[in-house]
């Protein structure tokens, strides 16, 4: 194994473990949110190995750096305890769903392995800001604009909701 693949497996394992820790940790919500941060950062590491440098940097800046901080803000202020949640019902159903999921994974894994495409050869400058920027503002400019309109709409909606409380 090369250093790159060791780094990849370390990041991937950390992402999975911290994601599981986030889900299974019901005692402490802040710790759960911090596990989400670790997941985001290790995903950035995975992107880094895949030569997607811009995405890796954005993953940390936007997800770990901005979005989850806001989550933690809210969670910290609410200071939720275990008893603040509804009691855990439907345990048999959840257990069944888990079994079903594992069974599906076992059945599907060989299919995925068979039809996995060969790794593509990367063009020059792949994953850099030039490449991504050019693609975003030429080939996918319509999608980009549609997404920005959606965001603008969401922003106006959020301001309206907040203002109604103030007025």
């Amino acid at each position: 194994m090369t250093a790159t693949s060791i780094f990849f497996y370390a990041c991937a394992a950390l992402a999975v473990v911290s994601a599981l820790a986030m889900l299974l940790n019901v005692r402490n919500t802040v710790a759960s949110a911090l596990c989400l941060v670790v997941t985001m950062i290790s995903l950035a590491g995975v992107f880094l190995v895949l030569d997607a440098y811009l995405i890796a940097a954005l993953q940390i800046m936007v997800y770990a750096g901005a979005i989850v901080v806001l989550f933690i803000f809210v969670v910290m202020l609410l200071n939720l305890r275990h008893d603040a949640f509804a009691p855990n019902r439907l345990i048999p159903v959840k257990f069944l769903a888990c079994l079903l999921g594992v069974w599906a994974l076992v059945r599907l894994a060989p299919l995925f392995a068979r039809y996995l495409p060969d790794p593509a050869t990367l063009p020059e400058g792949f994953g850099g800001y030039r490449h991504v920027g050019l693609a975003l503002y030429t080939d996918f400019v319509l999608t980009f604009e549609v997404a920005s309109f959606l965001l603008l709409g969401a922003m106006v909606g959020a301001v309206m909701l907040a203002k109604r409380r103030l007025d």
């Binding site: 911090l34 811009l54 800046m61 850099g128």
Partner: protein, 383 residues
């Protein structure tokens, strides 16, 4: 890892963490003493030798290491111990992408004086800067103290807000230099531009004659003056220093998010603030003040002037040393500016800090991007 990388890393750590940071703590004390008409730090004494108080950083370290490391009752022990590390590490590793010298050819071997010359260097700085915010968030929450929590809320809201403007204020400089790599920006700033060159460009005058001698260095601060001011403001706000020091407030929330820390864990918070001062100075130097370049003396001219007399290797080495000295001289100037600001400006109120960010700096930085783009179109640069 190569030997060269290890040497460069060791050099940067030795200069920034072990030399600049302790001396800045002394400078800050001395300067506050001068501003407040006191004598200042001069009591640390080794057998009668005080060195104008320069022994104080040493005494501080000894004191902090031997103090008891208290974890308050009811605190989340693991998080409480982890938070100062998260706050300090990003400050220390930021210098990896800041070039402290140029590119020097020794025969076939090229020496670039930057630890990691990555193509997306500025993004790396922003990414690790946003991780540093977790140090303040976690420390406030894990201390189980309401004043700490309030301090960390103030700190993280301020840091997140100013991060946005800080990124946008740099877009102009990315456009001008057509790069995100600080090394490439440094290379581009090692030239000069003619102040009246635009007369020729638009065909108003055929030859500007002697006016062509009026040149300014091709530095970011001349190409993006507004960007420089906004970035400097945001950087100081990011570092939570006066006049943006609302996360701390003796009369309202005491020491803010690091209220419950003692010993060397408090020392890490303290140290990271001073290392960040050096990081900000390095960033401003690399982006806006020409990096390592010496104004009006490009590298080729410098080496070409010395090489015929002393030989290529010696000339390149002299050039390298001069460039590193030039870089750190500029860094010291910017550090001094930050220090002087602390004791000369009154403190902002918290709503003023937020207003300044969202209502003044953010629209200005977007306008700066648009104006820069328009000017580049008119002048036909980088199109």
């Amino acid at each position: 890892m190569e030997l060269e990388t290890i040497l460069k890393t060791a050099f940067i750590l030795a200069v920034v963490v072990l030399t600049f940071a302790p001396i800045i703590t002394w400078v800050e004390r001395k300067q506050s003493a001068v501003m407040q008409d006191r004598i200042g730090a001069n009591r640390a004494d080794l057998g009668g030798i005080t060195l104008l108080g320069l022994l104080h950083p040493l005494a501080d370290v000894v004191k902090l290491i031997f103090k008891e490391d208290v974890v308050p009752r009811g605190a989340n022990r693991f998080m409480h111990l982890l938070a100062p590390v998260i706050a300090a590490v990003p400050a220390i590793i930021a210098y990896a992408v800041i070039p402290f010298g140029g590119s020097y050819a020794y025969g076939d071997r090229i020496v670039n004086l930057v630890v990691a010359d990555v193509d997306w260097g500025v993004l790396y700085i922003f990414a690790i800067g946003s991780i540093a915010a977790y140090g303040t968030v976690i420390s406030g929450w894990a201390s189980n103290n309401n004043w700490s929590l309030l301090g960390s809320l103030r700190a993280s809201a301020q840091v997140i807000s100013y991060e946005v403007t800080m990124g946008l204020s740099l877009v102009g400089i990315f456009m001008v230099f057509q790069s995100l790599s600080m090394f490439e920006m440094g290379l581009a700033q090692d030239t000069t531009i003619r102040l009246f060159g635009f007369l020729e460009h638009f065909g108003w005058v055929d030859d500007i004659g002697f006016l062509g001698f009026l040149q300014i260095p091709n530095w970011g601060i001349f190409l993006q003056p507004l960007g420089f001011l906004m970035f400097f403001t945001c950087a100081i706000a990011e570092n939570k220093r006066a006049p943006f020091d609302c996360p701390e407030g003796e009369s309202e929330i005491i020491a803010g998010y690091h209220l419950e820390y003692s010993g060397m864990r408090f020392g890490l918070f303290y140290m990271s603030e001073f290392i960040e001062i050096v990081v900000i100075a390095g960033l401003i130097t690399a982006l806006f003040l020409g990096g390592w370049s010496i104004p009006y003396l490009p590298q080729a001219t410098l080496i070409g002037g010395i090489a015929p007399v002393f030989g290529d290797y010696f000339a390149t080495s002299i050039c390298m040393i001069l460039h590193v000295v030039s870089f750190f001289a500029k860094v010291i100037v910017v550090i001094y500016l930050q220090m002087a600001m602390r004791w000369s400006l009154p403190r902002f109120r918290y709503d003023q800090i937020m207003d300044l960010c969202w209502k003044i700096l953010l629209p200005l930085s977007v306008a700066n991007v648009i104006v820069t783009g328009g000017l580049m179109l008119v002048f036909g640069v980088g199109v």
